[in-house]
Symmetry: C2
Subunit: 62 residues, 2 copies
């Protein structure tokens, strides 16, 4: 499986906010993260970067 962990980056800090993320969908002024267990989390912000081989998604809050 190729799900990833999602992190909020703030300066040099990375905060893990969700594991096993499958889909990331635009919603209002942010993104809705959905993991393989069906859990959802809304992040007001943008997708900063991806490192898929490392299974990482980085977002920044707005």
């Amino acid at each position: 499986m190729c799900e990833a962990s999602a992190y909020i980056i703030d300066g040099d800090n990375q905060e893990l906010i969700m594991e096993a993320v499958d889909s990331v969908e635009p919603e209002d002024d942010g993104y809705k993260l959905i993991n393989i267990f069906g859990e959802q989390k809304f992040i007001k912000g943008t997708i900063h970067s991806l490192s898929l081989v490392d299974h990482k998604i980085f977002l920044t809050k707005s």
Copy 2:
């Protein structure tokens, strides 16, 4: 390996622009895509959505 294919979405159309994408990094007013072969492509636009279990990244051009 968990690389993905990157698509530009334009209405109902999806155009495949790069396969085996590993990393997506912010650059200027867009994103630089880098695949596992070291090839790079710059897209002026934003990340629209992700479907990682399907190995798909969707971007929209600005």
